[in-house]
Amino acid sequence: MRVRVLAFARLRELLASGELTLELTSGARVSDAWQMLAGRHAALEHLANSTRFARNGQIVPSDAPLADGDEIALLPPVGGG
């Protein structure tokens, strides 16, 4: 199945893109999408615990299941002011 990933703030920079598509096996969860990206970009590791995920516009836990066509937004904390 295919999911669309939107990356924000620091993660957009680390992934060098604000939007990408991932091919995942059926039954994959949000955390599997993150693991796939973290495998490609080691720098994601230090944001692993603090990043939240929105699936189709709703923040969900990282073990939430994914379905074909879902959109995941990766939301690292932003602290500047």
Partner: protein, 377 residues
């Protein structure tokens, strides 16, 4: 015949100044009067605080507190538009307050050149109707959210990084808090601040202005506030999205079994519970002082912030040695900064035979928060 709008709370001059608000049905005279009666605390007078403070002041919010212990640096001027070059080196709260007073002399500004910390968070939040989180430090963001949850005040949150911004409202009734969204702070150094990573100046203007707009909506009770929604502003892609999030039953601050505030993190938890000492409410102090003296027991470092005319000043730490300066036949209203030490002082005075004692509930901070003409800080 011309009918003129009149208002018990707003002068003709104020009605003219705010006329473009009065023309909006959602605001109108009643809304403008609500704003005039409202008190807002802005934590951080930096990139977000600059626009937020200016729009809140211009809008006629009756009392605005601005707290910041930092001073203006030349590198701030790229985005912190409340300051001018001549402010470099001055405390931000003091410089911002000066600018706001000239922008709108009809409102009161509390300049607080302090750090918003665990020792004063709840006492300060309690004095205002809403708080704007315009800080640039994660620990302070958690502290603001926790204090707002405990004091049941809305926390209008904004944050920025380079081209990306976030806005939301935490701590509102039945709404989630900052810890529901981000339960734990990122490891130090993993998320750069504006000073480390840089920021597009105009983004600070967008996000701080949006915070002001959300705060005004809350105060007016109009529209759909960003409660349980996180707004994501991406200036590079020119996209604005919102995602929904819920209160987390396991949240350590606002969940089913909260742990925050149950330990002595914040000083207010240590307040004496109840007492039989007659209390004077801040609103009634002026009246009571016609027949009584104010005994101000703040320490000298607290009293430099300002004091009431005619008050007898004896710091609590010197009270036992200086009681002879007081007359037990007289009535005293004992006051400290927040109304905790004053209870202790009343107990000592009673032991010494004083009987005509009252204590100022909420301390001089509470009094200052209710008196527009009194720039106590």
């Amino acid at each position: 015949m011309v009918e003129r709008t009149s208002s018990a709370r707003l002068s003709p001059r104020a009605l003219r100044r705010y006329s473009r608000h009065l023309l909006i049905p959602e605001v109108g005279l009643a809304g403008q009067e609500r704003l005039a009666a409202a008190r807002v605390l802005v934590v951080g007078a930096g990139g977000l605080g600059s626009p937020a403070l200016q729009y809140l002041a211009a809008a006629g919010v009756g009392r605005i507190g601005v707290i910041d212990d930092d001073s203006v640096d030349e590198t701030n001027l790229q985005r912190q538009t409340i300051f001018s070059g001549s402010d470099v080196g001055r405390n931000k709260a003091v410089a911002a307050a000066e600018r706001l007073r000239s922008l709108n002399p009809l409102i009161a500004i509390d300049a607080l050149p302090l750090r918003f910390g665990a020792d004063n968070a709840r006492d300060l939040v309690r004095l205002y109707d809403a708080v704007l989180d315009c800080t640039d430090r994660f620990p302070t963001r958690y502290l603001i959210s926790d204090a707002c949850v405990l004091e049941r005040k809305p926390d209008v949150y904004g944050s920025i990084f380079r081209f990306d911004g976030q806005v939301s409202i935490f701590g509102a009734e039945s709404g989630p808090c900052y810890r529901c969204l981000y339960p734990e702070a990122p490891p130090p150094g993993s998320v750069p601040s504006c000073a480390e990573g840089g920021v597009l100046g105009a983004l600070a203007g967008i996000i701080g202005t949006w915070q002001a707009s959300e705060a005004l909506k809350l105060l007016l009770g109009i529209g759909e506030p960003l409660i349980g929604r996180l707004m994501l502003v991406d200036t590079l892609g020119a996209n604005v999205r919102t995602v929904r999030f819920d209160r987390d039953p396991g949240c350590t601050a606002c969940g089913v079994r909260p742990t925050i505030g149950r330990r002595p993190l914040l000083v207010s938890d240590e307040e004496p519970s109840t007492s039989d000492v007659p209390e004077v409410e801040a609103d009634a102090l002026d009246e009571v002082l016609r027949d009584a003296f104010l005994l101000d027991v703040r320490e000298p470092h607290e009293a430099v912030l300002g004091s009431l005319e005619g008050a007898v000043q004896i710091p609590a730490s010197q009270l036992e040695g200086r009681m002879h300066e007081l007359d037990s036949a007289r009535s005293y209203v004992v006051a400290c900064r927040v109304g905790v030490k004053s209870l202790w002082a009343v107990a000592r005075l009673r032991e010494a035979g004083f009987t005509r004692l009252q204590h100022l509930q909420g301390g001089l901070l509470a009094y200052a928060a209710r008196h527009a003409e009194f720039d106590f800080f």
